[in-house]
Amino acid sequence: MVAVATRDLSRHYGKIQAVNQLNLKIPTGSLFGLIGPNGAGKTTTLRMLAGLLEPSSGDIRLNELSQKQYWREIQWQIGYMPDFFGVYDNLLVWEYLDFYARCYRLTPERRARAISDLLDLVDLGEKRDVYVHTLSRGMRQRLCLAHALVHDPQILLLDEPASGLDPRARVEMRMLLRELQSMGKTILLSSHILVELAELCDQVAIMERGQLVVSGAIDEVLRKAAGRRTIAIQVLNDPGCNSTPDRAIALLEQIPSVQNIFPQDRVVAATPGSSGGLGITSIEIEFYGDEFARADLLEKLVSEKIRVAAFNETITNLEEAFLRLTQGEVG
């Protein structure tokens, strides 16, 4: 089952293209993270999915229902938490949830049960009779999440649910989301805090300037990002052993999986007292290939008597994959 699917979803504000031909597929029951820098179109996408914004073109299907035709039915199946939200003044916490429960036409018995269950779930049971506007930021965030759950929706659209939270509240939010996922809900959340998504989500999609850069399971995204990784090679400049950077570059140029070579032309360190231009030259290459290809590359360099001082890839985690992938990639 696919919980959320978009096809060529686009939205522009005047001349600014906020979302451009976005194709997403989110399987039911998954915790899906939408990552991107500010202005990438994450909020616009979520608002379109929540039915608050009309797409300029393209289709949205939620739980296999077309949004254009079945938006009334869809309203019952989604819970939406905006990135910026306010609360009503002069309203108690339980009254706040009661209001939304009434909006979803819950019967009085179900309403009472839902309110106490949700307050327990988001750990606000003691704050039941406190004014909403006196709650702290983290509590409000959890209350807002509770409001989105009042009608037990299948799909949760959460826009930056962890923004502005202290580390402790963030951990609590993460645990809460895991619990919701275990209840069988599909959760789509956006964030720019990548470390968190890496730990939390099954699947991620990276957006930039309204376009999808890459999407899939976390490992897959990492591998895709790693598919074109940058390797930094430090070569000892030792003419006595016939190991010069020029020869190393000439060698590298012969290898097809090496795309770009950026010789740094910089002597990293010179060994004092040695004759000639002894030193280390750093070369960065863009390399396409898996671990075996990398091993082969190193073996080739070594067998050609190039003295390699260091050989390491620069991408190690999602954060860097993200930075690498969104660096003017689309524009």
Partner: protein, 360 residues
């Protein structure tokens, strides 16, 4: 389509509109609502007392009995004051209803619920008006002081109260409309106050201008749109403009314009102004409401569904035909009374029957 509409109506459990529950919970909390009510009633009491003293002072040398004069001046004064209080309070309550939701960023969460924009609007209108009506009804005991002095019929008082209610609804809808139209509450409030002040006093200024140009009384249609005129016309049958203008001698001529009625001729009685203007106000309120219910939608704003269009049409046509029926039913009380048979003409003092002399 009709079948599904009926089914959806019959299936729906009767539940209070959630917006009304929420608004009443939060509005009546804290001292503000009660402070406003107290200030309003105190103001009404003070003005009532001042009117009493003014009428007493101005009728010292009058030959007419003082008591009904006091009653009439008190009643007219309170009615006008209530109208101004409604004009002052209603926009402040309604003009921020939608725009404040936008400003406080609670609107989107509300719009993702299945609560329809029409019910959001309805809840906002009812909860705002219920507060205005609370003020109006709280003023009734004060207004009933009038009956101590006499001079005003209960019928007129009820008419005035009904007119005030219709005007409050119109003002409320104007506030809601501008609240939905403008993004900022301050803008919405300013615009709705402007519209209401223009509606209240614009016709009077136009009347003064035209009076100055033609050196005569302005035509009555010119003043008719003003709620001031409507309120006056509801009690003009029992309140003598002289009794009020003696209290407010500086406002003499506007009061005469507002309260004077066209002369009653042999065969026609003019319909009071409020017969025309109150239905017009209601119609404007209905149309503005329908328009606002489109404006509050974030998406599909002008995609009108069949059922919605039919409902709106039924509402407007039903209202217009009800008013038209009302006109038809009351037509023989007012203009163009056709007296075909002179013998049916009854007079207060029947002609003495003179029998023809019988010839012996």
């Amino acid at each position: 389509m009709m079948k599904s509409m009926l089914k959806s109506i019959s299936n729906r459990r009767w539940e209070t509109n959630p917006i009304i529950v929420k608004e009443l919970r939060s509005r009546m909390r804290g001292g503000r609502a009660f402070a406003t009510l107290t200030v309003t009633l105190t103001l009404l009491t003070l003005v009532g007392y001042a009117l009493y003293r003014m009428t007493l002072a101005s009728s010292t040398y009058s030959s007419t009995p003082v008591s009904p004069l006091i009653g009439q001046a008190l009643f007219a004064g309170l009615a006008f004051l209530l109208l101004l209080i409604i004009a002052a309070i209603t926009p402040s309550v309604t003009a921020s209803e939608i725009s404040a939701e936008r400003e406080k960023q609670t609107y989107e969460m509300l719009l993702t619920t299945p609560l329809s924009p029409a019910s959001i609007l309805w809840g906002k209108l009812i909860s705002a008006l219920s507060y205005i009506f609370l003020i109006l009804f709280a003023a009734i005991p004060l207004a009933s002081l009038v009956f101590i002095y006499g001079g005003v019929s209960i019928r007129d008082m009820v008419k005035t109260l009904l007119a005030l209610l219709v005007i409050a609804i119109l003002f409320g809808v104007i506030g809601l409309f501008s609240s939905a139209l403008f993004q900022r509450s301050s803008q919405a409030t300013a615009v709705s106050y402007l519209v209401i002040v223009l509606l209240l006093f614009g016709p009077l200024f136009a009347g003064i201008l035209s009076g100055a140009i033609t050196q005569g009384d302005p035509p009555r249609w010119m003043l008719a749109p003003s709620p001031l005129m409507v309120i006056s016309s509801t009690f003009s049958s029992s309140v003598n403009p002289q009794s009020i203008s003696s209290a407010f001698y500086m406002l003499g001529s506007p009061i005469y314009w507002l309260m004077g009625s066209t002369p009653i001729s042999q065969d026609s009685i003019p319909r009071p102004i409020y017969h025309y203007v109150l239905p017009l106000y209601s119609l404007v309120a209905i149309l503005l409401y329908l328009l606002t219910s489109r404006l509050v939608k974030p998406v599909r704003r002008w995609q009108i569904q069949w059922s919605e269009a039919v409902l709106a049409l039924v509402l407007v046509l039903g209202f217009v035909s009800a008013i038209f029926m009302g006109y038809l039913l009351t037509t023989n009380r007012y203009e163009n009374i056709q007296i075909s048979d002179q013998s049916q003409l009854q007079s207060a003092t029947p002609d003495p029957a003179i029998e023809a002399p019988v010839n012996p």
